[in-house]
């Protein structure tokens, strides 16, 4: 985009949004949010970057390839689902473990949380991947011969 203002705002805005998305993800079990919403917000942040500064720049900023991100996300969710099978329980049975966290006190940590994290990454990866693919195609459409 040609707007200088927007180009300069985005690097400040996006990291903030990413942090927010992670917050939405983590509190999702107890308040509105969760993997889907968190992932979508994170993807929106990246979409901002992409719109404002171009696909290539957004890719560089992301560092990780969206394809890898989504594969990793699905794999994480899958692994969290498979874990109980090794404990002899049906797949996707939640395994909970109360963990002492310094500031927050006792927190239940379990495979559903891991599952949600997997969903988060999958959603981020998928959305950005789709966006990037279409953007690139569109860029080529615009520049290349019809």
């Amino acid at each position: 985009m040609n707007s200088y203002l927007i180009r300069m705002t985005v690097p400040w805005l996006c990291p903030f949004l990413l942090v927010m998305s992670i917050w939405i993800l983590l509190r999702g079990h107890n308040a509105p949010g969760g993997g889907f919403i968190g992932g979508l917000v994170a993807a929106a942040a990246i979409a901002f970057w992409c719109f404002a500064r171009g696909v290539e720049d957004a890719k560089r900023w992301m560092r990780v390839s969206p394809l890898h991100l989504m594969i990793a996300g699905v794999s994480t969710a899958l692994i969290s689902g498979l874990m109980p099978m090794f404990a002899g329980k049906p797949m996707l049975t939640a395994l909970w473990h109360k963990v002492e966290v310094p500031l927050l006190g006792k927190l239940p940590l379990g495979t559903p949380i891991l599952f949600d994290i997997g969903v988060f990454f999958a959603v981020v990866g998928v959305t950005t991947s789709i966006l990037f693919s279409l953007e690139e195609f569109e860029l080529w459409n615009r520049s290349g011969p019809s």
Partner: protein
């Protein structure tokens, strides 16, 4: 309020179908989006609407009490919305490719040559 929403959803369905029956690819997509929105609203409506009572268990409580909106349709709709998005994104890409190769978005000319 369900009857009111029933009418609205009906209108959405009708409009979606009307749009799908046009010749343009873009209207086909518009129609599909409308229909999937309508289906989502239908799930909520048909399961019964409860206002202003999100299914959130208040802090310190063990169970949901009082009236609360049915959480299951919400989960279903959420899943359906996300799935719909994935499929639609793919469909859009497909249309872009088809348009690119054929230079036409007239559906009647994009037959596929079945017979």
């Amino acid at each position: 309020m369900e009857p009111f929403w029933a009418v609205v959803v009906g209108i959405m369905f009708g409009a979606g179908i009307y749009l799908m029956l046009r010749r343009n690819l873009s209207k086909l997509i518009l129609g599909l989006i409308l229909i999937s929105n309508a289906a989502n609203m239908l799930i909520m409506t048909s399961a019964g609407l409860t206002r202003d009572a999100p299914p959130m268990i208040a802090a310190g409580k063990e169970t949901l009490t009082g009236t609360y909106a049915d959480p299951l349709p919400q989960a279903l709709v959420l899943t359906a919305i996300v799935i719909g998005f994935g499929v639609l994104a793919y469909f859009l890409t497909l249309l872009q490719g088809a348009y690119k190769s054929n230079k036409s978005e007239n559906l009647d000319r994009l037959g596929g040559g079945a017979s």
